[in-house]
């Protein structure tokens, strides 16, 4: 799931050169919206197995906030990155309270839908099928993004913009539209990520703030602006956490920061950054 948020972060950074601290907030929003949507759908008599498309839909629908927020960021595109970082920090503060205002402070969760699809045995472990569905979905989105960026017209425009904004602009690309759409896509990756993860967990107020740091770790390890990096970074962070928890739980948190710093020091562009000048 971390991958989706990180991918959203990467996309926006790659194209717009904005590091979006609010990505965690989108994730949290997606989670809450997912809970509400599925609850409403189940109450309306929807058969339980259909909850998955409802979640996806809720995540996607929430992305409508993307263009509005992008509009808010627009005045500062030409300014120092530090200001952009701060503005997204302002968004983090605001979203935290918006969520609290709408959904309250108590954790929200979806009871049993998690196991609607049953469980499977993988080796010695029992794994809920839903986890596999989510993993498959994440992989599908990763592949889809790859295809989208490489093959579609809009994808090519996005890549061209990421490479060289002036050039793309000179070739008649409407920057305002590209930015708006890319940002919305980034938001959607975050909200869908949040919505999909919710059956396995519960939506709590502070999930956004907590996630940001991890998403950052993923992005830094993978390399800013690189999709492949986001995927690899998410894997690395996941594996490091799992190994640390299994062997030496005391260092779980520390280990990730140490890796982040090590990567920044040794390969500041990240492990998977393209060689750009």
């Amino acid at each position: 799931m971390l991958f989706l948020v990180a991918a959203g972060l990467q996309l926006v950074f790659g194209v717009q050169k904005i590091l979006n601290l609010a990505c965690g907030s989108f994730y949290a929003l997606g989670a809450y919206a997912g809970v509400s949507a599925v609850r409403a759908a189940l109450a309306a008599g929807l058969p339980a197995p259909l909850f998955f498309p409802v979640l996806l839909g809720a995540g996607l629908a929430l992305a409508v906030i993307g263009p509005a927020i992008e509009r808010l960021l627009r005045p500062i595109y030409d300014r120092d990155e530090s200001f952009q970082l701060l503005l997204t920090f302002a968004l983090v503060l605001m979203f935290e309270d918006v969520i609290r205002f709408v959904w309250g402070t108590a954790p929200h969760q979806l009871g049993n839908v998690y196991l609607t699809y049953g469980q499977v045995r993988v080796g010695a472990l029992t794994v809920p099928t839903y986890n596999l569905v989510v993993i498959a979905c994440g992989a599908a989105i990763a592949a889809g993004m790859g295809w989208f960026l490489a093959r579609t017209r809009f994808g090519r425009i996005v890549r061209a913009t990421a490479e060289n904004r002036e050039m793309a602009e000179a070739m008649g690309v409407d920057m305002a539209r590209v930015y708006s759409r890319v940002f919305t896509l980034g938001v959607a990756l975050g909200t869908v990520g949040g919505a999909l993860v919710i059956p396995a967990t519960a939506a709590v107020n502070e999930m956004g703030i907590d996630l940001i740091v991890e998403a950052f770790a993923v992005v830094v390890i993978g390399g800013l602006g690189s999709m492949r990096g986001a995927f690899a970074g998410a894997l690395i962070v996941g594996v490091v956490k799992a190994v640390a928890i299994a062997t030496w739980p005391e260092v779980e948190m520390l280990a990730i920061y140490v890796i982040v710093i090590a990567v920044l020091v040794l390969r500041p562009a990240g492990l998977f950054a393209r060689a750009t000048a």
Binding site: R100, P107, A200, E206, G238, E250
Partner: protein
Amino acid sequence: MRCTRRHFLKLSAAGAAAAALPLDVAPVLAQSGPVRLGILVAKAGVLAPVGESGLRGVQFATDRINGAGGILGRKLELVIEEESSPKDTVERFRKLALQHKVDAVSGAISTGVGLALGPAAEEMKTIWLSWDATTQKGVEESMPKPKYSFRSTDNECEAVMASILTARHWKGRFKTVAGINPDYSYGRDNWAAFLAIMKKYGIEAQVVSELWPKLGATDFTSHVATLAQARPDLIFSCFWAGDTPIFMKQAHAAGLTRSTKLVLTTGGGVHESLKKDFTPEGALLGYNCFYFENTKASALAREFTRWHHDKFKEWPNYESDHGYFTVAAFKAAVERAARAGGGKWPTQDAIIQALEGVEAESLSGPRRYREDHIMEATFFQGFTTHKNKHDFVTIDPVESMGTKQIQKPSGVGLYDWINGWKV
């Protein structure tokens, strides 16, 4: 506002006194208006739901007291401020004491905040009745004999009770244990107490895994996988926040809850989220010191539970009771001190003296403050059941133990006390 002749005379007298001794004005005036009680309540973050619950208890108590004419005829007025980081909360406390000039402060849940507030209360010379913030070492080290702070029950009470019940019901039926506890002092204290008591009871359980997820974590996939590998016979956890249902859900999905014995000392704090779908029957579940469906509940408790459910569509949990008791105890102490002092509104010192050893009816039966300013209460735990009208688990039968049995007495170290048990 009514202004009787007598009131007016009193004011003039106060005015005359003010001219001579300006410092004496404030207390004279303060004794005629409402009693002001400062409340520190967490509103954001992991603690927010707990804070909200405590505030409900306080509000219920306040409404009842004011409905019955207040404390010695004075209305009770709440000044609510937010509990956040220790630094900010100390500043809020100061605001309550210095600017709002409250008669006492009730509230605070976080241990770190409590550690900062204890000394602050002494320094500000303001009575502080803690809801949950309680800590062993800090307060004892730096404030051996607090005058103004009144603490909650010890951190480990629920672990002590759960350990005794574990030994009583499951001794000899498990060989390996694992602990998954939130990564901060509360989690560590409870786990250490559990291990010490197991040893005391001669249960040689092998610890196969000790996990310390961050407080309020939302992903336990790796922890659950580790537990599944370690295959413990019993899992001990003192989760109390939103992490409890998440852990249960993920543990259940991994098949961990089917055969493993579960000890959840404090999970009752989020009892409504422990859905039957993923919470098994037969797990030992603690509700701290208030259980909403206690068959032996008092009329007061029933009234509160009804009020709470009508108003918030939720069943109350223990923090409400902490909040309720602090207010009730304050009222009882004021009245007790007034009786001793001839009916006048008592001085702060008299109230403090009266708080020591004061007993008041809480939502979970009688509670009191010990002479060393530590709360005495009754704790409720039991084995989970699905046989109820809710979609979440409850306990049956309900076991209760008083702090006389599960809290170390004044002036004794926890482990010395445990080691001194006769079992």
